[in-house]
């Protein structure tokens, strides 16, 4: 089982975490067309390579960001977006 390092709780088994999808720019609901908004709601890019993703440590309800390589499945870093500058 994979380990994931929660910025608050340290390394924990992956089954303690919930995946919340890639970090993306929230589309502007006031200007987006219906088609653009549907795309925003239903589709997420899943590019090979490094991706920023939202994760939640379920027992503590702590939400954070992980940078993961979607090809190798290596987690490069995890951080609390409240304290770290988003790259």
């Amino acid at each position: 089982m994979k380990l994931l390092t929660c910025p608050m709780n340290g390394p924990r088994n992956i089954d303690e975490f919930q995946y919340l999808g890639p970090v993306r720019d929230d589309a502007d609901p006031d200007t987006a067309s219906d088609a653009a908004w549907a795309r925003h709601v239903f589709r997420a890019a899943n590019p090979p390579g490094r991706l920023l993703e939202w994760w939640r440590h379920v027992p503590t309800n702590f939400v954070f960001v992980a940078e993961r390589d979607t090809v190798s499945n290596d987690v490069i870093r995890t951080f609390d977006p409240a304290t770290a500058e988003r790259p």
Binding site: M1, K2, L3, N13, I14, Q18, L20, D26, P29, D30, A32, D34, W37, A38, V41, F42, W54, R56, V58, N61, F62, V63, F64, N73, P81, A82
Partner: protein, 947 residues
Amino acid sequence: MTRLPAPFGSRIDRARTVAFTFEGRRVEGFAGDTIASALAAHGQWMLSRSFKYHRPRGVMSMAGHEANTLVRVGREPNVQADLTPIAEGMVVTAQNVAGSLAADRDAVIDRFGRFLPVGFYYRTFMGPTRDAWQRLWEPIIRRKAGLGVVDTDVPARTFDKAYLHCDVLVVGAGPAGLAAAVEAARAGADVVLCDGEPELGGSLTYAAPDGASATAAIAEASALSNLRVMTGTLCNGWFEDNWLPLIQGDVLVRARAAEVILATGGIEQPAVFRNNDRPGIVLGGAARRLIRHYGVRPGQRAVVLAGTPDAFGVATDLAAAGVAIAAVVLPRPLPDHDVALERLRGAGAAIVTGRIDEADGKEHVGAVRVGDDWFDCDLVTVSVGQAPAWQLACQAGGRLGHDEATQRLTLTLDRPGARLAGSAAGHADHGAVVADGRRAARAALRALGRDAPDLEPPRDNGLVFAHCALPLDPDPRAKDFIDFDEDLQVKDLINAVAEGYREIELVKRFTTVGMGPSQGRHSALATARTVAAATGRSVAATGVTTARPPVGPETLGVLAGHGHVAERRTALHARHMALGAEMKPVGAWWRPYLYGTGERARAIADEVRLVREGVGVLDVSTLGKLEVRGPDAGVFLDRLYTMAHADQPVDRVRYCLMLNEMASVIDDGVAYRLDQDRYYVTATTGAVAHVYAEMTFWNARWRLRVDVLNLTGAWCGLNITGPGARAVMTALDSDIDFTRDAFAYLDGRVGTVAGVPVRAMRIGFTGEPSFELHCPGSLAATLWDAVMAAGEPHGLRPYGLEASRVLRLEKGHILIGQDTDALSSPDELGFGWAVSKKKPFFVGKRALEARRRLGFDRRLVGLTFAPDAPEVPGESCLVLRDGAPVGGITSVAHSPTLGHAIALAYVHPDDAKSGHVVTIRGRSGAPIRAIVAGHAFVDPTNARQDL
């Protein structure tokens, strides 16, 4: 039962006789025997019939590598006879036989093999008549499919799970694993050494080269306190970040290791020739295991196939065990073994150059042919080399390759935290295997940050002749097996390629090669070579199929473990039990379903009537309870919910409806504004975990000044409802004024009741005057007792979940998840009133606008059924319009208040008006008429709740 004298029989205790039965016959063995060794000692070699052709099969590896040895033990199918120790009274039977093992009626299939061509799984079975599939083929195929029979009445057994953490996990306790474990433990690392065999030493216990012994290493391993030895433990998989399941009997040990050393050794390979599956044809290692571990003389007269120098060790053991050697067959010259060959020749063995072309014998090997010469024998030992045990390494990202020069499979693993050692890494010489184990340990120690200088790479002179690749030309009369589990012959693989399946993964799927219990251990190399030759590619380019866990067979019980079910009880559980409630699970929670006894429908109707005519109390503690706090709390709720909360006055309660981003309803509840910066928000029992997560997730992005506290388990709730509710409330000892003018509908108050701090709300689900009291769980029983005492003169009684569901349905209130699905929008539910038209943003608003432009094709409405309706539809029954389904029933119940059945259902929007008649297809298939009612069946003007 004659056995060879000591030192042969190292694993058996001759002082303890153990009796069991095989196919109804009593068999005696010794403690330490496996089923197969005890049977072999009695000359019983045949253990099973093969999967497809029902050919006689027996021991080949004595290492659990083949399906031939799978037997039934008691009620358990597919037990490995060559690994499983015998026990007193054990009942062993053969599998996959029609009749008995000795007289298998299906053995006739062997002669008609041409009617079962390769890939017949992919053929269609359509003729000769229209119903031939059902009447003829399916029964045949079902009977033939699978090995063993599952006993569904097997008694429950306790399985367990354990956890283990270590610095270095060494898998395999042969010479390399032992050396690695001792080296790592000497340096002070926390080391675990595991092996599936019952003792340490691996091949040294039955095939030690001259001068080699595991004794010293075993002694040191046992003396090192930081080295944990786990024998009889199968490492059954490699998962990410070095998470490995170790199976020890009925216990699954989940190991997490910083460093893993895979010293899994080699898998001795069979030779391919006609009738190479006859019982009595065994791998060299199997003959030596039988002799050395169990003291069993494996035959009287042997032919030794000597493709590799290992064969001379086999021949030495055979001679020592009193087995006459009829012939030594040399496929190629083996230099440096002239002395050994001369000695064998001197003892009467024919030394012949060539290969075994075919074997003869009906149920046991009787002779083999080399070229034109036949040699009578009752034992054939095969020594043609090993394949590295690749399963764990490949799961960890390792790759199998092929060395053209030496014709052997090679294994490489390049991953931090995992490394190979010994034969698995391709070494053959004993000295090189041991040195490689130490070297792997040093590397692991360095990875752990310890000072451990690298060692010289070991020299290995044995590699050149370690593997002997015999030709794989198909025998014209076939029965030259590559895959013994699946009865696949050389021609089958060649035919698969001819059918167009060139890629090894496709060949596997078409032929099922490697899919049997042995998972390609004996077939992968020969398959790769055959397909490579048939497609004109190299073996390396052809490759082998993907290795996946598990490595060996595992019982589902081991994976399941204890199977604990999480269970939640409210703080009032004991009160409900004392009142005789029938409890039912709602998710993890246990809730009172019904308090009354006797006839169910009547008891439920009584509880409904109690609330409509008197007063009842419901334990609502399972409701989600969230406290949202902070200067931005109102803004936060405005964004999450569809109604306006920022402008909600303090001490007021407001309905709240949550949408997801596609504007589907996901939850509802109420928000009680405790003060400017604090809201107390309820969520449905089933959704609160999700709502709590969503709140946190959204705010991770919004970064509003707010935090969310989940009080669900900490706080309890009671709802006192019915025309008599206010009388009960005003009778309570409280600093809250519960009178009508002081406490209006949707008001909220903080105070104490009977000394218990409460949050009180005028909210309800029943349509009757209702008061909800929430308090800390530790004081819930006190509050309950006070309410019950105050209510007694007014006839207050508790009511259960089923009555609550009927009461809410009578009011047309929806249950999220019951009356909604993944697509339900507020408009479809008639909840337009609950959606703010003024707010610039809330989650789902944008999608809701888009969906409104698209229009909607269903509406949730109430349906009434005539009191004398012959049938009332069940939930999920379809609503039809012009014969086509347009929706379905989501909730249905008999209304004791109205005296007929009522339901909520999705209907076509054009039918949503009151008075329309819709047709539902009942469970019987008959059409049922229903009349559309407004949302509320009882008290549509909501006059009662404010009485």
